[in-house]
């Protein structure tokens, strides 16, 4: 760099060099992350018509979303579904992941193969996974119902995505299938860090497999649990692509798969049938979801960190 600035004193050259290194990243970050997020907070306080701000609205957008039916009804309905998604994924997806990781950590034959196959869906687009399972869950010709018929359980066959009682649950199971490899490998990495001697001495002392899992492994993988809980939480409250592909923008049937992501998108950008879009209410909704995710995550990180033990 001396060649570019031959006459500059070294005292000035160094700060300039550092500024040069930082500038492109800071510009990108401020322009396309910081500014948009701060703008969302501002936009939420305005009344909008299409793409134009037409006046200050105070807390009106927030009031509509939180207290004025039908908007508030949709908000709470969607929020409740996000909550179900989060809790179910914690149990179904991450619970499975923990035990899969424990079995993988034994280093049995084929364990490498099992890891690679578990992680395969994780690298694929939600669009692919969503369409694939939408075909599999087709009531007449889908693989799931065909399998049930083939093994003599024809009476269990149902229109999985077409009835409110099973639609959301089906989406949750597909999501778990798609992502289970991720928490599994996070847990596996944490389990492989547990010193062998601890587990071996516990075994010599007569601790059975289950006791070792509960008393040694579970507490020692607490940092992994923190990460898994937080990522699942953020993912659940940002859920959009899977319900969009598999059910649709309105969260059918009868809003039984409606979640905040779909509701936000509908509010902000309208739907094919009703092109009504409202950037004000959309921004207010985004701000509320954003603050909710941020506050709960920060609070949980504090709580969960407390149970972590450094090895």
């Amino acid at each position: 760099m001396g060649a570019f600035m031959p006459n500059m004193s070294p005292r000035l050259r160094r700060p300039l060099w550092i500024a040069l290194l930082l500038t492109p990243a800071l510009l990108l970050m401020i322009g396309f992350v910081t500014l948009p997020i701060l703008s969302a907070f501002v936009y939420a306080f305005y009344k909008w018509q299409g793409l134009a701000r037409i006046g200050f609205a105070g807390f009106e957008n927030f009031r509509l979303i939180l207290f004025q039916p039908p908007f508030s009804t949709w908000t709470y309905n969607a929020f409740f579904h996000n909550l179900i998604v989060f809790v179910s994924l914690m149990v179904v997806q991450n619970g499975t992941a923990f035990f899969l990781a424990w079995m993988l950590s034994k280093g049995l034959r084929l364990h490498r193969f099992h890891q690679v196959s578990l992680f395969l869906p994780v690298i694929l687009s939600t669009v692919i996974i969503g369409f694939l399972w939408k075909l599999f869950l087709n009531p007449l010709f889908g693989l799931v119902n065909q399998t049930l018929v083939a093994i003599g359980l024809a009476s269990w066959a149902q229109p999985w995505l077409g009835q409110p009682s099973t639609a959301l649950a089906s989406l949750i199971v597909v999501n778990a299938w798609h992502w289970v490899g991720f928490p599994t490998l996070v847990y596996l990495a944490a389990m492989q860090r547990i010193p062998r001697e601890i587990l071996e001495s516990a075994e010599i002392d007569g601790a059975g497999e289950w006791t070792r899992i509960r008393r040694i492994v579970w507490p020692l993988v607490a940092p992994a649990t923190t990460i898994v809980v937080i990522l699942t939480f953020i993912g659940s409250f940002n859920w959009f692509e899977l319900p969009y592909i598999m059910s649709g923008l309105e969260g059918p049937p009868f809003h039984s798969t409606d979640v905040l992501g779909l509701y936000f998108y509908r509010t902000a950008f309208g739907t094919v049938s009703a092109a009504l879009q409202d950037f004000g209410r959309g921004s207010a909704l985004a701000v509320l979801i954003f603050l909710f995710i941020l506050c709960i995550s920060a609070w949980w990180v504090r709580i969960l960190r407390r149970r972590e033990i450094d090895l």
Partner: protein
């Protein structure tokens, strides 16, 4: 040590899990070679012939190649921009002491927790003002920015581990700042660059949300978005649908099978302690 019956039980459960993960993928690939009638009538059978009819339909009658090209272009450009900007910034943060260093590092890190989807309305308005709506460059800028926090995090962590002696020796030999960066630091950083690259390339390649909002013209659509177009057009022709899904999954699956270690390390980095 595991008792033999325990090992057998665990192995059986793991084999079952692998089947649950792989069987649907196998059905997808096999169905790509079947006619729709075959899929309806005999979903579990092997295809009667490995005819390439469905794949040919995708190839000739849809814009699959254009979508694929757009995905490649957008992913490659945004990753290049992200790695260049992120590594330079990380280098400044990792190797130089200056006022504001910690604050700037934390500023980037804060971006890790931010779901940028929620800022899509301002992004839409901003890109529209810049004339970048319905433009692949708009996507590139958003993706590059979105990937910066993790890139800065991964690269700063790595660059801090390079011993200071290397730098000092080069300085004594008369190397300038630029020479130290490009001839010593960057070549050593290759493994971390791969991790940061994969960590962001896979989600960018797979993203559907931002193209949905920011891209409208068919010629500019990326693969996941294009997939929704022909899934709608051919909704009754299941053979073609499975062929489309198979072809869309193929590029990343092939790379993943070859580089599974790097993919797993890359995608779980940040969630796993090094």
């Amino acid at each position: 040590m595991l008792k033999p019956w325990q090992a057998a039980l665990y192995q059986a459960l793991l084999v079952m899990t692998s089947l649950v993960m792989l069987y649907p993928v196998a059905v997808m690939v096999l169905s790509a070679f079947k006619t729709t009638g075959e899929i309806y009538a005999s979903p579990f059978a092997l295809p009667e012939s490995f005819a390439l009819r469905n794949l040919a339909t995708i190839w000739h009658e849809t814009r699959f190649l254009a979508y694929l090209g757009n995905s490649l272009l957008v992913t490659a450009t945004s990753i290049a921009l992200m790695l260049a900007a992120g590594t330079l910034a990380a280098y400044a943060l990792a190797r130089y002491a200056f006022r504001g260093n910690e604050a700037i590092y934390l500023f980037f890190l804060a971006g890790l927790m931010v779901p940028l989807k929620l800022a899509v309305i301002p992004l839409f308005i901003e890109l529209r003002a810049l004339g970048l709506i319905d433009n692949r460059l708009g996507l590139v800028l958003v993706y590059a920015a979105m990937g910066l926090p993790s890139t800065v995090f991964i690269m700063t962590g790595f660059l801090r581990t390079i011993p200071a002696e290397l730098e000092e020796a080069a300085r004594i030999d008369g190397a300038g700042e630029g020479r130290i960066l490009f001839r010593i630091m960057l070549p050593l950083s290759r493994p971390a660059l791969v991790i940061a690259g994969i960590h962001n390339a896979v989600p960018i390649w797979n993203d559907f949300f931002f193209p949905l909002v920011l891209i409208q013209s068919d010629h500019a659509k990326t693969l996941p978005q294009g997939l929704t177009v022909f899934m709608g057009e051919y909704s009754t022709d299941w053979g073609v649908l499975f062929a489309g899904l198979t072809l869309s999954a193929l590029p990343l699956t092939l790379i993943y099978v070859a580089l599974s270690r790097q993919f797993i390390a890359g995608l779980t980095s940040g969630a796993v302690k090094g």
